[in-house]
């Protein structure tokens, strides 16, 4: 069965409670480092010396190796080098409280990212210390083929450097759906309640 049965899910109450709320703040556990940049680049065959070669990068416009614009998400990746314990979640989850990884309660526990919007404002260099702040911008229900009761969560994250300068902004839309087995169990409960 899903974490919250759709019959028990009040989208208006959820929106009222969560939209515009800061749900997560986090500091990078380590400064920006060379080797995670290398791994990020090699994932897609990127050989750009601006990201990989300290000597050449020193002569470039930024005076040092910078992170590829695509890498900030990785730096704060929730399940990798920055486990949740390293972050401060404003609304700690109780063990029995179902939630998405954005803390917003949702019926489904299968997340798929759908849309990404980035503004890159300042270069991030090796040695910088970053922090992030995430708010919930929107929550709504929109069916997909896999699940007629799919909840979409839109978040907005600002990334700051050690001088408190916003280096990037990220708006992300992710949907949470139920597995086919969860949907079948939920439907069985709905049917049972309808027939009584």
């Amino acid at each position: 069965m899903s974490a919250i049965h759709p019959m028990d899910y009040d989208i208006d109450a959820i929106r009222k409670e969560w939209v515009n709320r800061v749900i997560r703040t986090g500091h990078g556990r380590y400064p920006v480092e060379f080797d995670p940049i290398r791994r990020h680049c090699h994932m897609v065959g990127d050989l750009n010396p601006a990201f990989l070669d300290p000597e050449l990068a020193e002569q470039g416009p930024h005076g040092a190796v910078i992170v590829p614009p695509s890498m900030l998400l990785t730096y704060f990746s929730g399940k990798g080098p920055w486990p949740p314990a390293a972050e401060k979640t404003e609304t700690p989850q109780q063990e029995d409280t179902p939630a998405s990884f954005f803390a917003v309660p949702v019926p489904g526990d299968r997340g798929i990212n759908m849309e990404v919007q980035w503004d890159f404002l300042e270069p991030v260099r090796v040695g910088d210390r970053l922090r992030m702040e995430m708010i919930i911008a929107d929550v709504f229900i929109k069916p997909i083929k896999l699940d007629p009761y799919t909840v979409w969560v839109v978040s907005e994250t600002s990334f700051f450097n050690q001088e408190d300068l916003v280096v990037a902004k990220w708006r992300n839309t992710v949907l949470f759906h139920r597995s086919p087995a969860q949907i079948a169990e939920d439907n069985a409960r709905s049917d049972a309640q309808t027939s009584t």
Binding site: N48, G60, E115
Partner: protein
């Protein structure tokens, strides 16, 4: 494949609407899958565990947002030269780049403008999958130096 000259500047004045960015094509094989997990540090099971993907109603492992962002980012940074700056990048994940397929990143210049003393180029970006077609359409704006 032509070697990329990373030290060569690309000037706004020389860019034409309709210019195509050199495409990048990657085979999404077993090595690419583990590089995806290592490089993105996204350990969500749906991106590397076929059984979990199937249990979610999804027929195959598909590549994650970090990987998608990195590939589209590389498309732009390979082309823009050392003084270029990716100002914005937006994309929608309308289809999945599934394990075992080939994925190609394309880009085309769609506009040139100046704004707040910045010389900007708008680029349509896309990930195309063989055999899935366009999976990830998007746009980006790049700041370039002037001559």
């Amino acid at each position: 494949m032509t070697a990329i000259n990373y030290s060569k500047e690309r000037y706004w004045d020389e860019v034409e609407i309709g210019d195509r960015l050199p495409s990048i094509s990657l085979m999404l094989d077993a090595t690419a899958m583990v590089l995806q997990v290592s490089g993105s540090q996204d350990w969500s099971l749906v991106h590397h565990d076929l059984e979990f993907a199937n249990d979610s109603g999804i027929p195959n492992i598909f590549y994650n947002t970090g990987w998608t962002t990195a590939l589209l980012g590389r498309l732009l940074t390979d082309w823009m030269g050392p003084s270029g700056w990716v100002q914005t990048m937006n994309f929608q994940m309308r289809g999945m780049n599934a394990h075992g397929t080939r994925c190609t990143a394309h880009g085309t210049v769609t506009g040139k403008r100046t704004e707040s003393n910045h010389a900007l180029v708008d680029v349509e970006i896309v990930l195309e999958n063989d055999p899935g077609g366009v999976t990830t359409p998007g746009t980006a704006t790049i700041r370039l130096p002037r001559k």
